[in-house]
């Protein structure tokens, strides 16, 4: 872009144009060890999209096993038995250990390596400094370190598939003592690497969180007061605090479990623990419940870490494509803050079945019902924002619109799980899987897809193809519902979430009859294949558009108001051609009397 020469006085663009004359940054410093928030955002984005695909592949292999138990996995079965050995995939048939490993790693990869880094690392990094009018993050080198910790955390997690004994197989929750006794033959086993990987990922998140919060507090442009921040920034701000304060207890728990596994301590191992008919040679005196408390103290706020940035993206897209201000912006902000606070006092609703006592359960049941209120406020405000808008139904908007009912279903089906009495029945069933996948898959991931289509032109200077975007959206939406809606039925009819043959043995030998839900296993698997096929247009569209997409005709192709669109495309090092000043709120769309239907935040009165 022709930005640099026109503003010789403004440091950022100036320095960028001259950097070429003096010292051309090498590929390594420009793309690998970059401290520019935009490059780091892209690094996070590409890495986490790959992990998203990998997590999805693991799930496809598991779905095959659920639908057709003990039959070889098509296409990759032979490869799996060759690479992972016959203990894991004998003649291409998924063994229980492999199913458990894939299950644990599907959850871990999706949550910690795909969605959080995409929502917080990628979008947060790329968009937040632009939207607040900052030249970069407050601590650029810390930002670089954050990505590299994340990357190595991912490498350790991937490596764990290939070590003797295979990857961690005690669920993404890694409950003790199961996680400690799952693989006693190998001291350095999948669980050990899982814990080391988690410590690296947590370190990455902590660095990121410190950086984001400091950036939002310190680097807001002149005039960018708190109530002029786009809702996306608020969402990232609250997310930052959740990560900052919730992750350290899991880091502590991870270190303690690592010590249980490697040093033989008994933090989480109860007295007299017997495994395989033999008493374990440990001191005992630990508490399995303690792991669950420390784990869920992170993992429940983590749910809001997953959902808040998606809400932020959806809010930006909806305001832009309804061409009117968000309805109830202030209520949304306060609701996000309320979520941030309440998220820390609901964790034990995951633990009703542990026998922690009815009084404690009642407390957590109450706070759980309370936290649904701010979530409903945000969702309602977004729904009401649609009213009277002249809606543009482009791809980002379609994804954002689908987010609303999908997250609604996910949220409402969570209520019976948050209530003590009904949870006793539904706990650990496919109902739970259906519930949180509605929140995270067609909820958060659709929000993230909306973000990818929405900011793609700012990042690359080219548009993604609308037609194939709509194809991607349409089939994804159908497939997501065909996958997750039947899980509610399976769960209500008593299907446990942990059976590696999809309940075939349990229902034939244990119960005696199939309650009419086993055919749904096949149905869901076919829908999952449809979902896989529906991602092909996205992948091709994404890669193709980077180089061959239609070029944007301006720096602001969506006619948006926020500062991220008032930069050159793609934004240069230092972001803004001249230091921006915010003169108005974030969503001045269709201001009566204005010449255009949008008034950018930096436009003087």
């Amino acid at each position: 872009m022709q930005t640099a020469t026109t503003h010789p006085g403004s440091g950022a663009a100036h320095a960028d144009s001259h950097a070429h004359d003096h010292h051309e940054p090498s590929f390594l410093t420009k793309y690998i060890f970059s401290s520019d928030h935009k490059i780091i955002g892209i690094q996070y984005g590409l890495t986490s999209l790959l992990f998203l695909l990998l997590g999805f592949m693991l799930m496809l292999a598991m779905r095959q096993q659920l639908a057709y138990p003990n039959q070889p996995i098509p296409i990759v079965g032979g490869l799996l038995s060759k690479v992972l050995g016959n203990d894991m995939a004998s003649q291409g048939v998924m063994q229980a250990d492999l199913y458990n490993a894939f299950g644990a790693m599907h959850g871990t990869i999706m949550v910690f390596l795909a969605i959080v880094p995409l929502a917080f690392g990628a979008f947060g990094n790329y968009v937040t400094p632009l939207q607040i009018g900052a030249p970069d993050m407050a601590f650029p080198r810390l930002n670089m370190a954050s990505y590299h910790f994340f990357f190595w955390g991912g490498v350790v997690m991937l490596a764990s598939f290939f070590i003797p004994g295979g990857a961690a197989k005690s669920g993404w929750t890694s409950y003790s003592p199961l996680a400690t006794v799952a693989d006693l033959n190998n001291v350095i086993n999948g669980q050990t690497l899982w814990l080391i990987g988690m410590v690296l990922l947590i370190t990455s998140s902590l660095l990121g969180a410190v950086n984001f919060i400091a950036t939002i507090i310190q680097l807001r442009a002149k005039g960018m007061t708190w109530m002029r921040l786009p809702f996306f920034v608020w969402a990232q701000f609250v997310t930052g605090f959740l990560l900052l304060l919730a992750f350290p207890p899991l880091e502590a728990a991870g270190l303690l479990q690592l010590s249980d596994n490697v040093l033989g301590t008994s933090f989480f191992l109860p007295t007299g623990l017997v495994y395989n008919g033999k008493q374990l040679d440990v001191s005992g005196g630990g508490s399995p419940l303690l792991w669950q408390h420390l784990f869920w103290f992170l993992a429940h706020p983590e749910v809001y870490v997953l959902i808040l940035p998606a809400m932020g993206i959806v809010s930006e897209v909806i305001a832009n494509n309804t061409r009117k201000p968000l309805w109830g912006y202030r209520s949304m902000v306060y609701a996000a803050l309320a979520i941030g606070f309440l998220a820390f006092i609901v964790w034990a609703h995951h633990m009703y079945m542990t026998g922690m006592g009815t009084k404690i359960a009642t407390f957590f049941q109450t706070t759980t019902m309370m936290i649904s209120v701010p979530s409903v406020i945000i969702l309602s405000a977004l729904f009401i924002s649609l009213w009277g808008g002249s809606i543009r139904f482009n791809t980002p908007m379609l994804f954002a619109l689908s987010f609303l009912p999908m997250f609604g279903i996910g949220g409402l089906t969570g209520l019976p799980l948050g209530l003590n009495a009904s949870d006793i029945y539904l706990h650990d069933s496919y109902y739970v899987i259906g519930h949180f996948h509605y929140v995270v898959a067609p909820g958060t991931i659709f929000g993230l897809f909306a973000g990818v289509y929405f900011w793609f032109p700012k990042i690359t200077g080219r548009m993604m193809n609308e037609f194939w975007g709509k194809v991607h959206w349409f089939f994804s939406l159908i497939a997501m519902n065909l996958i997750f809606a039947p899980m509610f039925i399976q769960g209500i009819r008593g299907m446990s979430r942990r059976m590696y043959d999809g309940g075939a043995t349990y229902f034939s030998v244990g119960v005696g009859a199939d309650p009419g839900i086993l055919w749904l296993n096949k149905f869901i698997t076919h829908a999952a294949v449809l979902l896989a096929v529906a991602q092909i247009p996205f992948i091709i569209n994404f890669v193709w558009s980077i180089w061959f997409g239609r070029k944007v005709d301006s720096d602001n192709p969506w006619q948006a108001t926020t500062l991220d669109w008032q930069t050159p495309t793609p934004p240069p090092h230092g972001n803004f051609a001249s230091t921006p000043v915010a003169h108005r709120g974030p969503y001045d769309y269709s201001v009566p009397g204005a010449k255009r239907d949008f008034t950018p935040q930096d436009q003087p009165n």
């Binding site: 440091g11 970069d136 919060i213 310190q218 933090f267 001191s283 005992g284 303690l290």
Partner: protein, 287 residues
């Protein structure tokens, strides 16, 4: 490109970036150590009544050396004072004075770690021995005049000993917390100034022998975990302060304000490390 407010405070927040950053980081550190303290509380409240080693999983008292712990607390508090003095010296433009206080700070940190290492070593040579009759004694081994570290029963067998000389502890009075009567014979031994009684124990009478290491008892597990992580913080902080004070102090000439900020931020971290110890000391040594 320059990041705004990297050195000068932002007018409306009154803070420069690094100060916001370090406070946020310390908030996360509070949560980290909070989790460890919670673990301590939970492990302790669920421990059975009665004292270790009489009760296999009872909570031990009086195993740590309180005078040494108190001295170490004083060392760390001194370093916390000197790090502030160093910062004040910079504010008063007295670089030589700053260096002196910085040197004292780092030396205190290293002294703290040295004392802690000594305490660890003492624990590694201290054993709990379970006899075949079900009773347990604690004490130091005496194998040909030396006190071996980290032995197990296997090492005893490998040394082909028939009997083991043990300096059996006479429990000190901290073993019995306030309100708990001290048995008559122990009281007498204390009055006589006796701390150990040498006993010979047949190896065939021993059913297990373990040093005071994390896998021996949840108390040791949480004691070593918390003090080791705290020690790691001390070490990291000392390295950073050493870098600021000596290797990287050239910044004082080029950018004195930023350099002073660095010392302030490093000092904040140092106070936090000190504060953790001020909680840690009473919890593991005294209570």
């Amino acid at each position: 490109m320059e990041i705004p407010y990297a050195v000068k405070p932002r007018p409306d927040t009154g803070l420069y970036n690094a100060k916001v950053g370090i406070w946020l980081f310390l908030a996360s550190e509070v949560m980290l150590f909070g989790a460890f303290f919670s673990t301590y509380i939970l492990l302790r409240v669920q421990a059975p009544h009665g004292f270790w080693p009489d009760v296999a999983l009872g909570w031990p008292h009086g195993l740590l050396n309180i005078p040494i712990g108190t001295f170490n607390t004083a060392v760390l508090i001194t370093s916390s004072v000197t790090v502030v003095m160093a910062w004040i010296a910079l504010k008063q433009n007295q670089f030589a004075r700053f260096r002196k206080f910085m040197a004292v700070t780092v030396l205190c940190a290293l002294g703290f770690l040295a004392i802690k290492t000594f305490e660890y070593r003492e624990k590694f040579g201290h054993y709990v021995i379970q006899l075949n009759d079900g009773s347990r004694i604690t004490g130091h081994l005496n194998v040909n005049g030396s006190s071996p570290l980290l032995w197990t029963l296997k090492d005893v067998e490998a040394a082909k000993l028939e009997a083991l000389k043990v300096e059996v502890d006479i429990p000190n009075k901290f073993r019995f917390p306030v309100g708990h009567p001290i048995p008559e014979d122990i009281h007498k031994a204390h009055q006589a100034g006796e701390h150990h009684r040498e006993r010979e124990i047949k190896v065939s009478d021993i059913s297990s022998l373990k040093a005071f290491i994390p896998s021996t008892h949840p108390f040791f597990a949480i004691y070593f975990t918390m003090t080791f992580l705290h020690g790691l913080h001390v070490f990291g902080g000392a390295m950073v302060l050493f870098y600021f004070g000596f290797i990287g102090s050239g910044m004082w000439k080029t950018d004195p304000e930023r350099f002073t900020n660095r010392i302030e931020v490093g000092g904040l971290f140092w106070h936090f490390v000190d504060l953790v110890w001020i909680f840690l000391f009473p919890v593991v040594y005294l209570l």
